[in-house]
């Protein structure tokens, strides 16, 4: 039975990212086997699925950290650049948040957030710091500006990492399992910041295992398995009435019971 395609609430927005038959191989292993997906302006698209199904790989292809072996990716209407120069320009319009935070340990929280604007956008220290302070305040860490990453908890570090990505004023935020490396107590504070961003209308692509987040905050969910999107749709459909066997398997495996 072919699933009825429910209306996509934010489809009217511009297509920020388009994945067309994206293929990525590592030697003999095919990580992405023809992924087609769209991300519209203001949407929160959640990528879920078992480990190794290609979700993170797709994200890393989006900002050119990995190269494609087939298909293409469009960003804001233009094909993803192939050369470093072009990629660099596109990356400035994308923000990425890593599972391992990857804060720069030799810089304070404020310096971490200000690093992009200073080095890449050429802002003065004063301007960059002003922006950094505003963003640290936004993620609830106004008083931690002078702290080094080693003095911060995992949740705090990840929030700084989000602020750092936001400092570049990106058009889309890419989250690669942002809470997977966090203690359960701190997951909430990070998801809270992400929800706030979503409410403000930020376009987000989120690889996550936090199903309740995907259910509540996501506008569109794509289920991955073995390098393919086996099902995609609004959260209500995916979680409450999954159309494919694979999705049902995956969700039950996680103990998801709505």
């Amino acid at each position: 039975m072919t699933p009825i395609q429910p209306p996509r609430t934010k489809a009217a927005g511009a297509k920020i990212v388009r994945y067309n038959g994206v293929v990525k191989r590592y030697g003999d292993f095919t990580a992405l086997d023809g992924v087609t997906l769209e991300v519209h302006a203001g949407e929160v698209v959640c990528l879920i699925g078992p480990s190794g199904s290609g979700k993170s790989t797709l994200l890393r292809c989006t900002n050119g950290l990995e190269s494609l072996d087939g298909g293409d990716i469009e960003f804001e209407g233009a094909r993803l650049a192939r050369d470093e120069r072009g990629l660099r320009v596109m990356r400035q319009r994308m923000g990425m948040v890593f599972q391992s935070f990857e804060l720069f340990p030799h810089l304070t929280a404020r310096q971490n957030v200000a690093e992009g604007p200073r080095t890449v956008l050429g802002m003065t220290a004063v301007e960059a710091n002003r922006r950094a302070n505003a963003l640290l305040d936004k993620v609830g860490l106004a008083d931690k500006g002078d702290s080094y990453p080693s003095a911060l908890s995992g949740g705090q570090q990840q929030r700084v990492a989000i602020a750092r990505a936001l400092a570049m004023n990106p058009d889309v935020m890419l989250f690669d399992e942002p809470t997977s490396a966090l203690d359960p107590e701190t997951i909430g504070e990070v998801l809270g910041v992400m929800k706030k961003l979503a409410d403000e209308g930020m376009t987000m692509v989120v690889v996550t295992h936090e199903m309740s987040f995907a259910r509540r905050v996501g506008d569109w969910v794509a289920v991955f398995d073995a390098g393919r999107v086996v099902e995609q749709g609004p959260p209500a459909q995916i979680f409450d009435a999954p159309a494919t066997e694979r999705t049902r398997d995956f969700l039950s495996h996680l103990g998801w019971s709505g």
């Binding site: 470093e84 660099r88 990356r91 890593f98 391992s100 990857e102 030799h106 992009g116 080095t119 890449v120």
Partner: protein, 219 residues
């Protein structure tokens, strides 16, 4: 067996001069080997072929040779290669510099490689170029790991300067052994030589310990 320790005091000027030459050799060698080692490391990491392989070959070659052999070889080959008549000091310096550059190159390379790939990726995700990422993110962190190893290399270098005595460079070891030959005071001079090296080297070894404690990296 009568010992005459006064001999040491009588020749203190020569010994001090020898010690000074030792220090000068070590400092001059590092002054050359630090920038050269950095260059070779960068070539190994980022250059294209065949430069990369040549740089690796250079490093592997000099790390797998006894320094004393390099000193002798330099003494006989360098005049022919360069066409210049180099002084023993210059020859010794060249041999030491070739050797320490190779070790430094390995130290720099390992230090840079020890920084997680994720750091470079995070920097590039912000829109930095590879060069910017290297300069602002990787190298500042790598320096912390590199410094203790460089300190250790320095201490080894200081001791290795004694090897250029075989080509009659008038550093501490050569001077000491010359005095021994002249005065026949074998035990006194050789012991004095060991003691002087001890006084010069011991504080340096302790300083290295301090540096390694202070810059200890815990993941």
């Amino acid at each position: 067996m009568t010992l005459d320790w006064a001999v040491v005091w009588q020749h203190r000027d020569a010994l001090v001069a020898g010690a000074r030459t030792t220090v000068l050799l070590a400092v001059a060698t590092m002054a050359i080997a630090l920038p050269c080692g950095a260059i070779v490391a960068v070539l190994r990491l980022y250059a294209g072929e065949p430069v990369r392989t040549l740089a690796t070959a250079y490093v592997e070659f000099f790390r797998n040779l006894p320094l004393i052999l390099v000193v002798y070889w330099a003494f006989y080959v360098l005049p022919i290669l360069t066409g210049l008549g180099l002084s023993p000091f210059a020859t010794g310096l060249a041999a030491l510099a070739l050797n320490v550059t190779a070790y430094n190159a390995e130290t720099f390379r390992a230090g840079i490689n020890s920084i997680r790939r994720g750091q470079t990726e995070a920097a590039m995700a912000l829109g930095m170029s590879r060069v910017q990422a290297l300069r602002r993110i990787v190298i500042p962190q790598a320096l912390r790991r590199i410094l203790p190893v460089l300190a250790s290399t320095w201490v080894s270098l200081f001791k290795d300067t004694s090897l250029v005595s075989v080509i009659a460079v008038t550093e501490l070891a050569y001077v000491s052994m010359q005095i021994r030959a002249q005065t026949f005071r074998v035990l006194e001079m050789l012991t004095a030589m060991a003691v002087i090296y001890w006084f010069l080297g011991y504080p340096q070894a302790k300083l290295v310990d301090w540096i390694q404690r202070r810059y200890a990296v815990t993941e």
